[in-house]
């Protein structure tokens, strides 16, 4: 009797799941042409909690600001739906699924952290929702994914920039690497740095050693003690700002005086707070500086941001802002709410004026932009130089 009952229950469940699957198509006929007065939803998936929360929050600041300045497109009100991906690869995929299936968003922005973006990639491609990453720099985010593009440069460029900085400005001949082995971002960036640095020094053995750590680690003393013995001229250690700040702090405590350089993820207030005096002199590449406004849109963005928050914006805030206005521009040009048509328009973005520079998307959907080098001096990020893209 029990068996029959449980089989019956199973049957009911299967049927109800089947129903749930077909429902959205019945109840959501796309009604084009009657867009005026309607609401268009843009999903945002960003780390709002967890180890990358500061990064996510800074991007969302920019997206919200852009939404306040440009709340409408083609007569429709734009509504932001923010989903927390909890700085976790599994949760990133969940957050993207939630935005697409439950909220029926037309486009998506996100995420800070390439690993998180890559995790959501296949879901976005399957659902054919145009997505714009703000600051995810790993090439794998957009390669092979026609629905993923970004408003920032990619790591093959960033790695070259930092290798050049180490070789030319720091006069380094030998480099040691410390990478966050579980982060696609860190491992990817290290690879491009290595290639470029070996080419610049013309020395096969220019990379004297590599140490690994995992996301969330707090103790780096063993790795750093090994690195100390190598007598490198520079240490390249791209990774999440929390881990990196602790790492640099422990390096200085172990008596390592070698310059330590990294990537764009370091530009977060927590990097300065946790690292304190230890991170003085740490240099990294990033996207944007508020010292030198590049476009007219930069001025608009900077004025609005300074008025609202009474501080200087981070690079990723400007990129979050750009990701939003690029999508809005594509919706405007496509004149449609059909994700596929918006994607077509988005892919043709050329010389679009963003807050963090002009945006032209290449065949992979990557923006070609210049990089900025910043350095920690007296407890603030200081602008050092601008490096133009390789044509």
């Amino acid at each position: 009797m029990k068996k029959i009952l449980s089989l019956l229950m199973l049957g009911v469940m299967v049927i109800s799941v089947g129903c749930a699957g077909t429902k959205p198509e019945d109840s959501n006929p796309i009604d084009e042409g009657a867009d005026a007065g309607k609401v268009i939803k843009i999903g945002v998936f960003e780390p709002m909690t967890g180890a990358n929360a500061a990064g996510g929050e800074m991007e969302v600041e920019g997206i919200r600001l852009a939404n306040e300045l440009y709340p409408e497109v083609n007569g429709m009100k734009v509504e932001l739906v923010i989903a927390d991906n909890k700085s976790d690869k599994v949760e990133a995929a969940n957050a993207a699924t939630m935005l697409i299936e439950k909220e029926n968003v037309t486009a998506i922005i996100g995420s800070w952290g390439s690993s998180l973006s890559i995790a959501a990639g296949p879901i976005i491609l399957d659902a054919q929702i145009p997505t714009v990453g703000a600051s995810c720099t790993n090439p794998l985010v957009t390669i092979g994914n026609d629905y993923y593009q970004r408003v920032c440069f990619i790591d093959s460029f960033q790695g070259t920039v930092m290798a050049k900085y180490a070789f030319e400005s720091l006069d380094a001949k030998k480099a040691a690497i410390i990478q966050e082995i579980s982060s696609d971002y860190s491992v990817g960036l290290v690879k491009y740095f290595n290639d470029a640095f070996i080419a610049l020094t013309n020395d096969e053995n220019a990379i004297v050693g590599t140490a690994n750590y995992s996301t969330g680690d707090q103790d780096f003393s063993a790795q750093l003690s090994n690195i100390k013995k190598l007598d490198a001229d520079v240490i390249f250690a791209p990774g999440n700002y929390t881990e990196s700040a602790l790492l640099i702090k422990q390096a200085r405590e172990l008596g390592i005086t070698t310059p330590i350089i990294g990537g764009d993820t370091w530009e977060a207030p927590e990097f300065l707070e946790i690292g304190g005096e230890a991170v003085e002199g740490a240099a990294f590449s990033t996207f944007f500086t508020s010292d030198v406004p590049i476009t007219k849109e930069s001025e608009v963005f900077l004025n609005a941001y300074r008025e609202k928050y009474d501080k200087e914006p981070a690079s990723v805030t400007a990129l979050g802002y750009d990701a939003y206005i690029v999508i809005l521009d594509a919706i405007k040009r496509s004149g449609s709410t059909d994700p596929v048509k918006i994607q077509e328009a988005l892919a043709q973005t050329v010389d679009f004026e963003g807050a963090a520079g002009m945006i032209s998307l290449d065949i992979n959907g990557d923006a070609i932009k210049s990089a900025v080098i910043k350095k920690v001096e007296n407890g603030v990020f200081k602008y050092m130089a601008t490096v133009d893209p390789i044509k």
């Binding site: 690994n212 103790d219 063993a222 700040a245 405590e253 008596g255 927590e270 946790i274």
Partner: protein
């Protein structure tokens, strides 16, 4: 590995191991007396660290006072957890209490995200704990010396309470036979309260020392140390206070030496700790210092 690097790594290992030992003591003490694996220990640890943080930054207390307040408040917090999550299940099967412990752990983590926020906070470190001492080419931060001293003091203090005082005798009686202890006129609830209070106080001390060494606070910060120290406690023989100290140091030593000797395997650092747990459970489930007593049914 040359001799200098070896000693530097040894210093690193002692520094990490003494922290593990300190937290493992609290774990093992609660288990030894209540036969309860308190999975919320890591969260109580996190709570203590945040209280110390807010006492220093928002209320601008000197660090000594802040730490004391953090310990006191954490003890109260631990007792509340016990009252709410474990006491109602005192006569239920042990499995129910353990599930309740896991649930409590998740609840506190998520509450902490809501209350303290998801962005990492920077724990202010007084100079006393942050001075770098150079011995030849070996650099050691002063906290590396302070943590083992605190661990030793805590160990002696606990051994004194458990072995020499009347309360300790009651604790041992409760751990041997809960019902018989009650029949003999021991106030079991009071013994449990004391045990939990001490356990939570230890978690707070461990959390503060952790924050001083790794000054970035996150609501999830208790998770990994909690699991690692659970492993340390099992290695030493769960329930055995001396064993927890041995287990903590051993785990720290193994972790550091693994990375030092085999840098390519660094990514498997945490996995390695869990493999060690499985091996210990298979080969010697009672741990290094645990006694082989038949479990009564």
């Amino acid at each position: 590995m040359d001799i200098e690097l070896f000693f530097q790594q040894l210093a690193n290992a002692i520094s990490l191991g003494s922290l593990y030992a300190l937290i493992a003591i609290g774990y093992t003490m609660v288990y030894g007396i209540l036969r309860l694996i308190n999975f919320a220990h890591g969260e109580i640890f996190m709570f203590g660290t945040y209280i110390a943080f807010y006492a220093m930054t928002s209320f601008l207390l000197p660090w000594g006072g802040a730490f004391l307040i953090a310990i006191v408040l954490t003890v109260i917090f631990g007792l509340l957890v016990e009252r709410a999550a474990y006491k109602p299940l005192r006569n239920s099967p042990r499995m129910s209490v353990m599930i309740s412990a896991i649930g409590t752990s998740f609840l506190i983590q998520n509450l902490a995200i809501v209350i303290f926020g998801g962005r990492p906070k920077s724990f202010p470190v007084p100079d006393l704990f942050n001075t770098v001492i150079h011995l030849g080419n070996i650099s050691i931060v002063s906290i590396t010396f302070i943590t083992p001293i605190i661990t030793a003091i805590v160990l002696v203090f606990l051994l004194y309470i458990v072995d020499k005082t009347k309360t300790g005798m009651a604790m041992r009686a409760v751990s041997k036979d809960y019902e018989a202890a009650r029949l003999m006129g021991i106030d079991v609830n009071w013994v449990i309260t004391i045990t939990f209070g001490i356990g939570s106080g230890l978690a707070a001390i461990g959390g503060i020392m952790w924050g001083l060494k790794y000054p970035s606070l996150l609501p999830m910060m208790g998770l990994m140390p909690g699991l690692k120290c659970f492993i340390a406690a099992v290695i030493g023989g769960i329930g055995n206070i001396r064993g927890a100290v041995v287990g903590g140091f051993l785990l720290g030593l193994i972790e550091i030496m693994l990375i030092a000797a085999l840098p390519a395997l660094t990514g498997y650092r945490d996995a390695f700790a869990f493999v060690l747990l499985i091996v210990i459970l298979l080969i010697k489930p009672t741990g290094i210092m645990g006694k082989n007593i038949a479990e009564k049914v």
